[in-house]
Amino acid sequence: MIHERPGMFQPALVGGIAAGVLTAVPFVNCFCCLWIIGGAVLSAYLFNKRSAVALTPGDGAVLGILTGIVAAVTDSIVSLPFESLNQEFVQRFMDQFSQFVEEMPAGWERWLDQRAGPMSPAWFLLGLLSSAVIYAAFGALGGLIGASIVGGKKSPPLQGPPDEASQNPGHRQP
């Protein structure tokens, strides 16, 4: 019997948008990278709900990477209206930073001025690219955690030679 796997894009979209929005909104974003991990766990849960077969760690990682990329795009877009608040945050950071140093690094004001103006497409793309790479890594981690939590409740997929991991449904420890 061959089980059909549902598409990964829809659960990744839902988990990624949720994680991206929560990461972008000021104050709520204080949980740092945990929202991305949480979003990927949500994606794994949604995927597993629709799937007839168990979510493998490999699938969890792919799902998490997709969730991270969607979260990076969402975060970059949703962050735009909060840019002025972020500027205040950067200014506050610099004020606190200045307490630690006698002399501020050269070029800091110029760098802040560049960031304070309307965001250039280059800065936007650079931020998006770095976020996508970092969030994809955190997303993969979340997808794997999701696979370990929700992945072992169905029959494992029918492929691969028998080994320790595939003999153990959901590849979890007993």
Binding site: A106, R110, Q173, P174
Partner: protein, 179 residues
């Protein structure tokens, strides 16, 4: 198929799994060291008044609030991430250090959900209590709860990435074998 060839293939398969796991381990360790190096590079550049300090801090901004009061200092300046995040990344490195002694190079299972909940509870409780204003922990406590949680993460990451590569290899191999 004769029994001998099954055993030979099985041994070859195991060797391939071990090689994949070792490569994944080396790759993740290298990435972790680069990431930790960047965390130290930011305050170092700041202490030298380098204009590159800002962009390096900017790289870590998407994953941390970077509040200076909640950050450890190095070279007289705050690290690129807060004390809790520093703990998570240091714990990740410590987890990588103990991984080969606990799991070896066999294809490993993921840690169970129960283990995850148990090890996550201190960091979740502390973070939630800080957020709700129930108590305010020191940076040392944030660092320790971060280390405890971070040490668990390589056991997911190595197992998952290796599983992804091994299953893709198997699919490619079976697709090639099919007429």
């Amino acid at each position: 198929m004769p029994e001998e060839s099954i055993l030979t293939e099985d041994r070859e398969g195991r060797g391939s799994i071990q090689r994949t796991l070792l490569l994944v381990f080396i790759g993740i360790t290298a990435a972790c060291l680069i990431w930790l190096g960047g965390m130290l590079l930011a305050p170092y550049l700041g202490s030298r008044s380098s204009p590159w300090a800002g962009p390096v801090y900017f790289i870590y901004k998407p994953v941390c609030h970077q509040l200076a009061s909640r950050s450890l200092t190095c070279f007289g300046q705050p690290l690129a991430v807060c004390a809790r995040c520093t703990g998570i990344y240091l714990g990740f490195l410590a987890g990588l250090g103990i991984y080969p002694f606990i799991r070896g190079w066999r294809r490993p299972p993921l840690p169970s959900g129960r283990v995850f909940v148990l090890i996550s509870s201190p960091i979740v409780l502390d973070a939630a209590a800080n957020l709700l204003g129930l108590w305010d922990t020191s940076n040392a406590v944030r660092l320790v709860t971060g280390i405890a949680w971070g040490a668990l993460l390589p056991f997911y990451f190595i197992a998952g990435i290796a599983d992804l590569i091994i299953s893709r290899k198997k699919r490619l191999k079976s697709a090639r074998n099919c007429p």
